[in-house]
């Protein structure tokens, strides 16, 4: 009862923050230089087009930029138009069709990525998001719509995953509420840093910052998780439970008010330790969109939860943060619910499969999957860095062939990360289930014998 009260108070404190951020449009929403609406008329002679703005229905006459012609403007299709303020009054910079035409190939691609993303999410608490957004973009969705639709798919999936893993006794609701409340503040800090970098160094600087953070965090944290999982796998015979890291043990000894007891995670720790972990999770979520890459290792190595509890709790955090993000994107009207629902059709099954998979594997297997995913994703992001450095003018522009190669390395590394993680989870789950069946047969034989 007391636990529930604390969670409710935390959520109560969180709500005004959520509402204010959401109503303000938040930092994650689209830029004000972007208009949403439908072109009703195109005039090739005057090089103008009339846009009926979404919501207000106001008619705006927009001018073509120097490189455009009338065939670039599609009438009666919902579009996002970005304006080029430097070129003059109401000059079109770019036009993105908001809703791509769905073909069978695109539908199948979204379902497959959704299934493996869901499996990964159910198993390690996060995942899928890092590949879904680029996948949607390469299928033809504008960046903002891809991020919004991904966010809207993330929170129902996380909700189903949290429910399942809560039933298995793996979710620490109190830890999830404490982490999410600080993570949301972390997101705000992350967005402020992003905006500062954007104003100082522009889009290329922002891209470079995101990629460098991505690679540094993923290589260090992923490398450590990999080393730890390898150590544990070698002494797997006596590894039924989990071993609390030395750092977490030292942190738990710090008696600084307020001390919080997390019953499921079996940890009593000062709130002052959970706050930085939550903030870092939020900041990373705002920077690279996958806060779980720091949240789960943080809960394991700093707070001292087991990998099973940490990954399950992360799903709870993803639900709260995903719901908050979805409200923001929904207010901007950028969610393509068709993509969201196609991904959900498979990921809702995948997430439950991943969740039940955790009951068959040992704790270190979750760490192996997490480390493999993080390290391969780091390669994907690392391949983008030379291009961004060139964009900033810090080195000569890349040779066209090299740029194309690096881009495809980046994309295929993401697909590889999903494939490898999906493969390890499936094999570990099948082996675990077969072992369990063999044990049950043995027990039955003994009791009859």
């Amino acid at each position: 009862m007391k636990k529930l009260l604390i969670v409710l108070i935390l959520l109560g404190l969180l709500t005004p923050l959520l509402a204010s951020s959401a109503l303000a449009g938040g930092g994650a929403g689209p830029s004000k230089d972007i208009l949403k609406g439908v072109f009703t008329q195109v005039d090739a002679a005057t090089r103008t087009a009339i846009l009926k703005k979404d919501g207000s229905g106001e008619l705006l006459t927009l001018n073509f930029n120097a490189d455009m012609n009338s065939t670039d403007v599609r009438v009666n299709k919902k579009v996002m138009v970005s304006l080029d303020k430097n070129a003059g009054e109401k000059v079109i910079k770019d036009i993105d069709i908001m809703f791509m035409d769905m073909t069978t190939g695109k539908i199948v691609a979204l379902i497959v990525v959704g299934l493996i993303g869901g499996l990964l999410s159910g198993f390690i608490g996060s995942g899928g998001a890092f590949v879904l957004t680029p996948a949607m973009m390469s299928l033809g969705a504008p960046g903002a719509v891809a991020v919004a639709s991904n966010m809207c798919h993330k929170f129902p999936k996380a909700m189903v995953g949290t429910y399942k893993r809560f039933k298995y006794g793996q979710v620490d609701l109190k830890l999830a509420a404490v982490m999410a409340s600080t993570a949301i503040i972390g997101v705000q800090i992350g967005i402020k840093i992003q905006k500062y970098i954007l104003s100082q160094w522009g889009n290329a600087g922002s891209n470079l910052y995101v990629s460098v953070i991505f690679v540094i965090v993923l290589v260090f944290v992923g490398g450590y998780v990999c080393y730890d999982a390898y150590k544990l796998s070698k002494k797997q015979d006596n590894n039924e439970g989990h071993q609390v890291s030395g750092l977490a043990l030292r942190m738990q000894k710090i008696e600084l008010w307020p001390m919080i007891e997390f019953k499921v995670a079996k940890v009593r720790i000062s709130a002052w330790i959970t706050v930085p972990v939550g903030l870092a999770t939020g900041m990373l979520a705002a920077t690279i969109a996958v806060g779980g890459f720091i949240g789960v290792p943080g809960m394991i190595y700093v707070i001292g939860a087991s990998a099973v509890v940490a990954s399950a709790t992360e799903l709870g955090i993803a639900f709260i943060m995903g719901a908050w993000g979805s409200i923001q994107w929904g207010l901007s009207g950028l969610i393509d619910i068709r993509m969201t629902l196609l991904i959900l059709s498979a990921s809702l099954i995948g997430v439950q499969l991943g969740a039940l998979g955790t009951t068959y594997v040992k704790d270190y297997m979750i760490k192996i999957v997490m480390a493999a995913t993080m390290l391969i994703v780091a390669v994907s992001r690392g391949a983008k860095i030379p291009g961004y450095i060139a964009d900033l003018g810090w080195q000569a522009p890349l040779d066209h062939g090299l740029a194309v190669t690096l881009n495809s390395v980046s994309f295929w590394a993401l697909i590889l990360a999903l494939g490898v993680a999906g493969g390890i989870i499936t094999v570990a789950m099948i082996v675990g289930m077969m072992k369990d069946k063999a044990e049950k047969r043995m027990e039955t034989a003994v009791s009859h014998g």
Binding site: M98, G333, I337, L348, Q352, D436
Partner: protein
Amino acid sequence: MAITNFDKHASAVTFAEAGEHQTAREMMADTKSPKRVPVKAPVKKPYLQTVIFGIISLASYLYIFSNEKLVTDVFTRGGVYAAWPIGTALFFSFVHGAFGSNLLTLLGLEAKKK
């Protein structure tokens, strides 16, 4: 020759009739009833639930994808219309999530019982 429970009971009755109640009791205490193996209750598979949730889910998918105009116009107006995509995502997570859960049970994929 092995002494069966029947032999033990018969001997205990003889002692009891002879007034040796204590001995009879001791002999009865020695007898063991055969170990009962609990009969497993047949597991009910959720066929009906899977079919019902499957039909609702499929019908909802068909409805959404055959009314693309509604999705592209109303769902993306922004502001209070944000309730549409978020509500829809929640509705599908309940219906399709329940279908998925029942489907996995039907396929025999269940969490390990400790």
